[in-house]
């Protein structure tokens, strides 16, 4: 058995940021990631990020990833790559399978779960055909593995993931035949949709895919118009020739370990569904277990990094490496930064939802306190 003060599961933007803060404060950190390279989704993000200078705005995601890796290396953060955390047991014991070939048990005083998210699927007849994939999968293929998944792509979903991946598919040399959106309004940032639009990609609002055709691979899709209550309108079907279908229909927090750890959950559709309840220190309802990043609600890499810092600072504080007063001051600064990221037309709803989660956490705490008394 390996013992450590702080185990962090997932070395994406949240996990890396948490590790850097906690290690810098002096905590002994073990960072575990199932991939062969840390950075999570950052190395797929070849576009320049939004935000302000303190959020590293204007820097491409992959370069932010490189920067975080450099910092974590300089701090000598112990990192296990190809490490799959398969379970979590009482006593903060993590079951880690390393290199798919051996089981290890890690006992940690504190745990931060920054496991990220998984892509949502949309079923339609033919969606199991090769050529139908998550937009994130297509992004991994083009930006990490340098493989073009297809030449003629249709994107289902116009949120930021859909439009950004469509743009990057164009950059990689594919043709994007259309971007479909089931809602009557496009979802992603206007500057992203405008960028793709001037490259000649048509948008179809109130549309979805009815079915995909092909023998051993997608050869075409039938698209259909949707009415105001999202019902397919008969007679509006149209067939488009494509060899790739990308599904950009949202993400779901990867919460298995939080469920196993006994964390209390709430259901917040705006943030991706069932989420572990957390407080303003990113503390879950279980003692010593923190969460950060997409597991605590689907947002962006910029917010994930801020939440990671919060979790890292407060875990280090509980371990005695940062004075509570200092942790509070620094947490407040991070909350200011988070609030500025969660404002405006797109951010406000997420901010309101986050406030509702913090309230649930407070209610639970007072409920349990009352029980103890």
């Amino acid at each position: 058995m390996i013992e450590t003060e702080l185990a962090i599961v997932g070395a994406g933007p949240a996990g890396l940021s948490a590790a850097i803060e906690a290690r810098r404060a002096g905590a002994e950190v073990l960072l575990i990631d199932e991939n062969s390279r840390p950075g999570g989704q950052l190395f797929k993000q070849i576009h320049k990020f939004f935000g302000s200078r303190s959020h590293k705005a204007g820097t491409r995601g992959m370069n932010i990833g490189t920067e975080l890796l450099r910092e974590s290396k300089e701090l000598g953060i112990q990192t296990w790559l190809n490490g799959e955390v398969c379970g979590i047991e009482e006593g903060h014991k993590l079951w880690v399978v390393r290199d798919r070939s051996r089981s290890e048990i890690v006992k940690a005083k504190k745990i931060i779960l920054s496991t990220g998210a998984t892509e949502n699927a949309v079923p339609f007849p033919g969606w199991e055909l090769p050529g139908v994939m998550g937009a994130g999968a297509a992004q991994t293929m083009i930006n990490v593995n340098r493989v073009l998944p297809g030449k003629k792509v249709i994107m289902l979903g116009s949120g930021n993931v859909g439009v950004i991946v469509a743009y990057q598919l164009l950059q990689a040399g594919a043709e994007v035949v259309a971007i479909l959106e089931a809602a009557p309004k496009l979802g992603g940032y206007g500057v992203h949709t405008a960028k793709v639009s001037r490259a000649g990609v048509p948008f179809y609002v109130s549309h979805t895919i009815k079915q995909a055709f092909g023998t051993d691979h997608v050869e075409a899709v039938e698209i259909v118009k949707l009415d105001d209550s999202f019902k397919k309108v008969p007679g509006t079907e149209r067939t488009l020739e494509v060899d790739t279908v990308c599904l950009a229909t949202g993400l779901t927090p990867l919460t298995e370990l939080a469920w196993l750890a006994g964390c209390k959950f709430c259901y917040v559709p705006v943030l991706g569904g069932h989420l572990p309840i957390h407080d303003d220190k990113m503390h879950s309802t279980q003692p010593d277990i923190f969460i950060a990043g997409d597991i605590s609600g689907i947002e962006e890499a910029s917010t994930a990094m801020e939440e990671g810092k919060l979790a890292g600072i407060n875990a280090a504080c509980e371990l005695g490496y940062i004075a509570p007063e200092e942790a509070e001051v620094r947490s407040r600064e991070i909350w200011d930064s988070l609030n500025s990221l969660r404002s405006g037309y797109f951010g406000q709803k997420r901010r309101d939802s986050k406030v509702s989660i913090l309230q649930k956490s407070e209610e639970l705490i007072s409920y349990f306190k009352a029980m103890i008394i």
Binding site: F50, A57, R60, L170, K185, V191, T193, A194, S343
Partner: protein, 169 residues
């Protein structure tokens, strides 16, 4: 609304004219100026810091829409590659009697070269007219966002915003 940002993907001229950064017709045709097509409140402000003249303002609240002081803007183009949304370009109506100038961000390979004839497009990627590449700037500080400058007939002044991708066959 027909032809709006949230249904077609690109802002309509009406939406642009109603946004705080877009110049008036008079300002637009006076000489070289920067134009920001950012009409939606997103948390972003690198354009503000990119302008050494202090012509671009976002303010304390980073989701506010940018504004440009056209008296201060000298159309240097420093903001073009700084905008993560690729939403800023420079236009000059007064370039010559018949031709206008456009400098815009471009992130596709291969890059066009000075002297090339390219297909100028509107906000929906529709071919409008031919243009000629005047220069291609791609310094390291742009971090792979090249800035292409083309001349094109000034009768299409407001419609043209970019060029068709050069597709390698």
């Amino acid at each position: 609304m027909k032809g709006s940002l949230k249904t077609t993907g690109a802002p309509s001229l009406e939406e642009l004219h109603n946004s705080p950064a877009y110049p008036t017709n008079e300002q637009l045709r006076k000489g070289p100026i920067a134009i920001i097509e950012c009409i939606e409140e997103i948390p972003c402000n690198p354009c503000e810091a990119a302008c050494s003249r202090g012509a671009i303002t976002v303010g304390e609240n980073i989701t506010s829409l940018p504004k440009i002081d056209f008296e201060k803007c000298i159309a240097c183009g420093a903001c073009i590659a700084a905008c993560p949304g690729l939403a800023i370009y420079i236009k000059d109506y007064t370039y010559s009697d018949t031709m206008a100038l456009l400098s815009f961000p471009y992130e596709y390979y291969p890059l066009p070269q000075a002297g090339d004839t390219v297909q100028a497009v509107d906000r929906h990627g529709k071919y409008i007219c031919d243009g000629k590449v005047i220069r291609v700037q791609n310094p390291k500080s742009n971090d792979h966002t090249a800035v292409i400058t083309i001349e094109y007939p000034n009768e299409y002044f407001e419609e043209v915003v970019s060029i068709k991708r050069i597709v390698i066959s």
